[in-house]
């Protein structure tokens, strides 16, 4: 028998009742009144060590089982009511919590390495190509207005576009477009592609690379188009945000977005490696030597040297140029 605090749910007035457990029946005695409740009529709390536990009564009242009685009686009441504990049992045992922690770390690690990529590849076919088109067309006017001026290489650009688009057809890339522009900021030693297959070459590249080398760069960009890398990245970033939100969510929104941005960059580097491999296939199809791609990386390295160092690998959207050169070692 224990004394317990009882609230009737109609006022904050506390009453002290005597509790006894008679088989599956909880008996409350207060003054002359005696009330009996079957275990399955009660709303039983989850186990938690060391604190009073609230037991909900069918009349809307609550009785707070003192900690020592709760540890003893709650399992019996629960058994009598046929209720199981579920996740609270895991929480109650340190070994189970440590196993859960290891499983949690392993799950996050696996999602990071494999799961997110698998999921993105599975979801990608469900996203219609028209979405890629719409995003590309939507983004282009802003990009052109903010960062681009007309190119100094118009006739050469038109020749390159004709040759490239003809060579690209064997890879069935869908609609393709190539334009050249001068960048308003920075060296413009770059090229990029929009999700709708619009490839943009910047004058900085055309200054330094000959036509075959430009084709190697275009082969790389074509790899992004064929693998739908931009759309993959969008699909992945949504998934990553969701996962980081689960693990870190109630810590901080900043931590969530930082973690998913860094991981997004890592996937970006994988996509670049995939596009590099595609560039080699493209060069072979164009009867050009793979050494052309190495010459491009050598010029990239010289450019990086001139402009003073790249970002450390984990903060970069592209693999380090040194790594790209090592991949092509022995190629001529």
């Amino acid at each position: 028998m224990v004394n317990a605090a009882y609230f009737d749910g109609r006022s904050t007035q506390q009453r002290v009742v005597e509790l006894t457990l008679e088989g599956p029946v909880l008996v409350l005695r207060g003054g002359d009144a005696v009330v009996r409740h079957e275990s399955r009529q009660l709303s039983l709390p989850e186990p938690a060590a060391g604190i009073d536990r609230p037991v909900g009564l069918p009349d809307g009242g609550t009785v707070w089982l003192p900690a020592e009685a709760a540890d003893l009686w709650l399992p019996r009441l629960r058994r009598a009511a046929g209720q199981r504990v579920g996740a609270a049992a895991l929480i109650g045992s340190w070994p189970a919590v440590l196993v859960s922690l290891l499983l949690l770390l392993a799950t996050v690690w696996w999602i990071n390495r494999e799961g997110a990529g698998l999921a993105a590849r599975a979801v990608l076919p469900l996203v219609p190509r028209t979405v890629d088109q719409a995003i590309g067309e939507q983004a282009w006017p802003t990009i052109e207005e903010r960062w681009l001026e007309p190119s100094r290489f118009e006739p050469r650009c038109a020749r390159l576009a004709e040759r490239f688009i003809e060579l690209a057809q064997r890879f069935e890339p869908g609609p393709l477009r190539l334009t050249c522009h001068r960048a308003t900021e920075g060296s413009g030693f770059n090229a990029f592609v929009l999700p709708d297959g619009h490839i943009v070459l910047l004058d900085g590249l055309l200054d330094v690379l000959d036509d075959d080398e430009v084709l190697a760069v275009l082969g790389h960009e074509l790899g992004h188009v064929v693998h739908r890398h931009t759309m993959q990245a969008l699909v992945r970033s949504i998934g990553l945000l969701a996962i980081a939100g689960v693990v870190l969510g109630d810590f901080s929104a900043v931590a969530v977005s930082a973690a998913s941005t860094l991981q997004g960059l890592a996937y970006g580097r994988d996509a670049e490696r995939e596009a590099d491999a595609f560039a080699l296939r493209f060069l072979a199809g164009a009867n050009l030597k793979p050494g052309v791609l190495r010459d491009v990386w050598l010029k990239f390295a010289a450019e990086e040297q001139r402009s003073g160092g790249g970002l450390p690998p984990w903060l970069s959207s592209h693999p380090a140029t040194g790594e790209r050169l090592r991949t092509l070692e022995g190629v001529r």
Partner: protein, 402 residues
């Protein structure tokens, strides 16, 4: 001007609250200086190691169930926090239904996806999403508030939140418009000095809107049949925001000085030994470091002062309250705990959450002329409990302030 709702209008004129807000009466000082015969602080009895176990199991099951378990994990967390909060020796309790929270989360995720993608596709879709926010956002917010309070109890009685729909719109829509003015202007293609103006000028109205929001939250809450009330305090909110702004400026100066010092000892020339030079990292580190520093400088003072202002003006029946959180103390607590979370790659987080929650909870005191055990409240007539929005409000980080 308050919504023309007969009930509150008559009530407001009678006790002078409305007349004070209209400037017809001088503002009254907050009631907290009254000497109280009895002061009870809230007590928090939870320990970080217990919350750690709840957190690990919740996160694992949530990931393995593709997020569905998060509703059950949330109920367990809320119940744990409530049952470890004590007033006058009695524990609070939480009774939320996970299925309703799950429904709220589906709504929240859909809204969030619409909001973050709307302006990407077109200005008109973005504006349509904003209109949708203005139309249903306030109702979701109010229903989340009701869900949270109606599922919290102390001494067997439920809290509650009942607010007329017109008032919810009158309070929330201006806040939403002020908050999103910058993004809308950006999407509409305004640039240069105008975008800065479109982003910054509405911020001047933010303290006013925030004060109205707090007044709605506290003024329409109830415990049993007792109503909470909050004295209007718009000037104090402007003072609060001004102080936070000053701290942000101080943080900015400190960040700039640190940046200059780093630049001086970390020269940008290429290294002669031919090793890779990571000087391109500097702007990144600088941006991340100064954002963290700015947040660290301003947030604890803001949170502490907000609690003082809001709870110092809150009453409920024969009770009144005070918020006694100190900015400097919270600042030290946040600094220590953020450092430990960073050093342990996040594993310290549950301990940090508990340490900060304990301080926030235990800073609230309840004042009364009689012992709290003698002050009795009775249940309100059973009202309906709807709850589509708890998940949504949780997602956008809205809370009652403690």
């Amino acid at each position: 001007m308050e919504s023309p709702e007969a009930n509150s209008l008559a009530h407001g004129l009678e006790d002078g609250a409305l007349r004070r807000e209209l400037g017809l009466l001088p503002p009254v000082p907050p009631p907290s200086p009254l000497p109280a015969a009895f002061v009870q602080r809230l007590v928090f009895s939870g320990r970080g190691s217990e919350y750690f176990r709840i957190w690990v199991v919740g996160a694992l099951l949530t990931l393995l169930s593709f997020g569905i378990y998060s509703a059950w994990a949330k109920v367990r967390k809320a119940r744990w926090f409530a049952q470890h909060t004590l007033l006058d020796g009695d524990r609070f309790d939480y009774h939320g239904d996970p299925l309703r929270i799950l429904a709220g989360r589906v709504v929240a995720v859909s809204l969030l996806v619409l909001w973050s993608w709307g302006f990407e596709f077109s200005l008109w879709l973005g504006l349509a999403v904003l209109a949708l926010f203005c139309a249903i956002g306030p109702l979701l917010f109010a229903s989340a508030q009701r869900f949270r309070l109606a599922n919290t109890s102390w001494r067997g009685l439920r809290f509650g939140f009942e607010v007329p729909r017109a008032k919810v719109y009158a309070v929330c829509v201006p806040l939403l418009l002020l908050w999103t003015a910058g993004s809308v202007a950006q999407a509409a293609g305004i640039d240069g000095a105008l975008i800065a103006a479109a982003g910054l000028v509405p911020l001047l109205g933010l303290p006013w809107a925030h004060a109205r929001l707090k007044q709605m939250q506290h003024g329409h809450a109830s415990f049993g049949s007792e109503r909470f009330s909050l004295e209007p305090s718009t000037p104090e909110f402007y003072g609060l925001y001004a102080k936070a702004l000053v701290l942000l400026l101080v943080g900015g100066v400190v960040a700039a000085l640190l940046g200059a010092a780093v630049a001086a000892i970390w020269p940008s020339h290429s290294r002669p030994d031919g090793l890779p030079d990571h000087s391109a990292l500097r702007p990144w580190l600088f941006a991340i470091g100064s954002a963290l520093l700015l947040w660290m400088m301003a947030w604890p003072y803001f949170a502490a002062r907000l609690q003082q202002v809001v709870w110092g003006r809150t009453r409920c029946g024969a009770l009144w309250f005070s918020g006694e959180m100190r900015g400097a103390r919270l600042w030290r607590l946040v600094l220590l705990n953020t450092t430990l979370v960073l050093l342990t790659a996040g594993l310290y987080w549950p301990f940090a959450a508990v340490a900060i929650a304990r301080y926030r909870v235990e800073s609230i005191a309840v004042h009364s002329d009689e012992p709290l055990a003698e002050v009795h409240a009775s249940a309100a007539p059973a009202g309906e409990r709807r709850s589509a929005g708890d998940g949504a409000a949780d997602f956008f980080g809205l809370d009652l302030g403690w």
